[in-house]
Symmetry: C2
Subunit: 219 residues, 2 copies
DNA sequence: ATTACTAAGCAGCGAGTAA
DNA sequence: TTTACTCGCTGCTTAGTAA
């Protein structure tokens, strides 16, 4: 949705156009927006075509009301702002399911990790990880997440080798309880490794390439 | 502020650019926005010029962080959405102080009104009304307000004439406790008549033409 | 009064490119 | 690789105007 249409919709909502029909001529709207009557009219026309508003024409002015579709678009925008200011206790990632290299199963199978996961996350991890590839640009969010600390799992020895430090964050994967596991070093991975008490692939009926939403929680 | 700049700023914030510096090249931003590298670069440049973001250039990419000014702009936008969805228990008007025609004093001085005000609003109104002229377009908000009912004050007889029905809403005038009084009929006034236990002009140091914020509360 | 069409003018977009 | 300049061209804006 074009930013200027969203802005128009928002300003209509501020005048009460979600619960009520509001009286507004394109000329008035033009003054409010500091543009021409023609542009204001065109914006309203575009919103109408996109089913964001309904209009009734009288002899004077028009009665405008925001539709469910329009209100949804606004609410969506609102959620983004909530994300920024309020709910900084969560970070939302969108990505695609990819196949791991079988490593996740080996690691999560390690007694050391399994015990830590149970003690610190409160669940027994199903063997293996669900790997979600995020947009490259969203690696900034991983950095954001790291800055909050998270649940640290220390180095330990097993099978004659050292397993490195990892940091976990409680998370939901398409709504299902779980956690994401980040290596302590290497700040810019673009794959989120998720663990969960459930077999996520089966429970959620996921296949490679499916879109997955991972919500990580801070504290 | 141009809507597309606000959108850019919002998306930077979603990547964590308020607390952190984020790594982002104009090319990446272009892909995210589905536009050209040049346009993305220009947007970032504009935000920089408007002091909404700061940038540090390395050999690769740039480190971007949102400034206080930028965060304020976003917070302001956030408040608008809050207004729409959450705090529909208040309606915010902005207007200018105008001189009444001395009528307010006569009316508020009437025993009938004075008693009602005290009983239903919980304060003794200072004689007279503070008149705030709102933008013509905001009369839609008055309609919105009316749709919530408000505190009704019935007709009464005094001095051999009938005083009409009015509807009140508890309100704050530049933060000071008070109420607005709307005639029951005549749906589209553009002047809000405010009453208060205080002499608002004096207490707030207001003069004609000053900008006044009136927040009306629904129940 | 309105809304909104057509057409002209101009701002913003992006290809090419320099640094 | 980057960022961001110039410049031709497209598409948005607005004046004029019809309905």
């Amino acid at each position: 949705m074009k930013p200027y249409l969203l802005q128009t919709l928002k300003e209509l909502a501020l005048l009460g156009a979600i619960p009520n029909k509001i009286e507004l001529s394109s000329h008035e709207r033009a003054q409010q927006l500091e543009t021409s009557q023609q542009t204001a009219s065109r914006y309203l026309l575009e919103l109408d075509l996109q089913q964001m508003i309904t209009r009734e024409f009288g002899v004077k002015k028009q009665l405008i009301q925001i539709t469910i579709t329009g209100a949804d678009a606004l609410e969506n925008e609102y959620m983004s702002y909530k994300q920024i200011f309020d709910l900084t206790n969560k970070v939302v990632f969108k990505g695609k399911l990819v196949s791991g290299m079988g490593e996740g199963k080996y690691y999560t199978g390690q007694k050391g990790y399994a015990e830590h996961f149970e003690k610190q996350l409160g669940f027994v991890a199903y063997p293996g990880t669900l790997n979600v590839e995020i947009e490259y640009i969203e690696r900034n969010k991983i950095r954001l997440l790291r800055s909050y600390g998270g649940i640290q799992i220390d180095e330990f020895q097993a099978e004659n080798r050292t397993f490195g430090n990892v940091v976990c964050f409680k998370a939901t994967i398409n709504g299902k309880e779980g956690a994401i596991v980040l290596p302590k070093r290497s700040h810019y991975a673009t794959v989120l490794e998720c663990i969960s008490p459930y077999n996520l692939r089966e429970t959620l009926g996921l296949h490679d390439g499916d879109t997955v939403e991972v919500v990580a929680y801070i504290q």
